[in-house]
C-alpha cells in the first residue's frame, strides 16, 4: 500500500502499474496478487487503512474537559502531524482521494464528515444571531484542504504542522468571528499542541 501511494504521488493513478507499485514496495507481483485483486483493490485498501488512522488520531484529541474549539485545533494539528510523516499518503488523501474511485471518495467523505461533526458543535458556542449558512462548515473544511494542498504541491508536505495557526483560523472564523479565530491562531503559533503519533507511524503507509 505504501508503494501504491508513492506511485500515485509520482506519476498519477492512471499511469500506475502493478509492476511499479511492487518495485517501490520491494515485493513480487505474486505477493501483490495474493493480497489484492488488482490496483483498484489495492487503492481501496490503502484508502481504508489511511482513513482508519486519521479517525483514530482525530478522535484521540477529544476529551470531555476540553473546549470544542481546542478539540478542533488539536484534530487539525494531529492530521497535519500525520501527513508530515507520510508525504505520499498526504498526496493520496488531499490531492487525489476525492476524485479517484468510489472507495477513495468514500474514505475522503468519511474523513471530511468527521471534521464537519466537530465544526457543527462549535456552532453551539457561536453567537446565536450569527447567520452563517449551513454550508459554512463544509466551506471551512474546504479552506483547510486548500491550505494543505498548497503546501503539498509546493513540496512542503513535511512542514505541514507550520500551517496550524492559519488552518485553525480557517476552521473557526465563520463561527467565532475574526477576533476569536485569530486569537486561537495566535495561541496555536505561540504554543502548538503536542501530538503523539502512534509508534507504528513511520512503518505504515
Amino acid at each position: 500500500m505504501n508503494g501504491m501511494a508513492e506511485v500515485v504521488a509520482a506519476t498519477g493513478y492512471p499511469q500506475a502499474t502493478v509492476e511499479e507499485i511492487c518495485s517501490r514496495a520491494g515485493v513480487s507481483t505474486a505477493t501483490f496478487y495474493e493480497l489484492f485483486r488488482d490496483k483498484e483493490d489495492c487503492l481501496a485498501a490503502s484508502a481504508e487503512t489511511l482513513l482508519g488512522e486519521v479517525v483514530t488520531i482525530v478522535t484521540g484529541q477529544y476529551s470531555p474537559d476540553k473546549a470544542i474549539r481546542y478539540v478542533i485545533r488539536d484534530a487539525i494539528a494531529s492530521v497535519l502531524a500525520l501527513m508530515a510523516q507520510r508525504p505520499a499518503a498526504a498526496h493520496l488523501i488531499f490531492l487525489d482521494g476525492r476524485f479517484l474511485t468510489p472507495a477513495t471518495q468514500q474514505a475522503y467523505t468519511s474523513g471530511v464528515t468527521l471534521l464537519l461533526s466537530l465544526l457543527d458543535q462549535v456552532r453551539v458556542e457561536a453567537d446565536p444571531n450569527l447567520e452563517s449558512p449551513r454550508s459554512a462548515a463544509r466551506a471551512a473544511v474546504g479552506a483547510i484542504e486548500m491550505l494543505i494542498r498548497n503546501e503539498i504541491l509546493a513540496g512542503r508536505t513535511e512542514q505541514l504542522p507550520a500551517i496550524l495557526p492559519e488552518a485553525t483560523y480557517a476552521a473557526l472564523v465563520s463561527f467565532l468571528g475574526r477576533e476569536q479565530a485569530q486569537a486561537m491562531a495566535d495561541e496555536a503559533a505561540a504554543n502548538p499542541p503536542r501530538i503523539e503519533l502512534t509508534p507504528f507511524g513511520r512503518a505504515h503507509l
Binding site: A9, A10, T11, G12, Y13, P14, Q15, L95, D96, R98, F99, L100, Q105, L130, E131, S132, P133, R134, S135, A136, R138, A139, A140, V141, G142, A143, I144, E145, M146, L147, R149, N150, L153, I163, P165, E166, Y169, A170, V173, S174, F175, G177, R178, E179, Q182, A185
Partner: protein
Amino acid sequence: MAITPKEESDIGISPRERILRSMVGSVGVRGYRETTVSEVIKTAGVSSETFDGFFAGKEDCTLAAYDWVIERILDRVAISYELGAATSWSEGVRHGLEALLGAIAEYPAVARMALVEVPPISPEAHARYRAALERIASKLRGGRDYLSEDEEPPPHVELMALGGAEVILVDEVSAGRADQLPARMPELLFAILVPYLGPEDAAAEMQAAAAA
C-alpha cells in the same frame, strides 16, 4: 491529412481546436479513463497523423484542452469581476462568481472535466490546476484593502477564500448537480468573503446578494 468537418459549425475551426473540443467533450462526459484518442479524432474529423502532429498522446492533449478551457472560463470570470469591481471589491467578487457559476451550469461537461477529471491524472495536471487557482487568487487580493491596518489577515487568506468555494463546486459537480449551483451563489459568496470580513459582514453581503 483528410479533414472532413462533421458539422457546418466546424467549418473554419482549426483542426487543433476541433481536437481540443472533442477531447473536452469526451473527458467531461465519459471521463478520462474511458476516453480514447481514436474516439476523439473520429469526433473531431481528423486523422491520427494530424493528432500526432499536435500532441504527444492522450495526457498531453488532455492538458492542452484543459488550458484551452481554463483560459476561456477565466477570461469570462475576469471580465465580470472587473465590471463589478468598478463599484466595490465584493461586487467584483459577486459578479465574477456569478459568471463562473453560470458557465458551470451552462456547460456541465466542461465543469466536470476541469474540476473533477483532469486534476488527478498526473502531477503535471495538479500543477496546472494550482496555476488556475493562483490566477483567481490574484483577483481576490483586493479584499485585503477592505481591512484596516491593524487587521492584518492571515498570509494565505486568498487560499482559504478559494478553498471554501472550490470544495462546494467540486462536491456539487461530482454529484451531477452543476445546474443547481447558480442558486447557491449567495452562500458561496459568504464562503469567499468570510475569511476577510468575518461572519457578520459576510452574512450581510450574502443577504444583499440573495435579495438582488
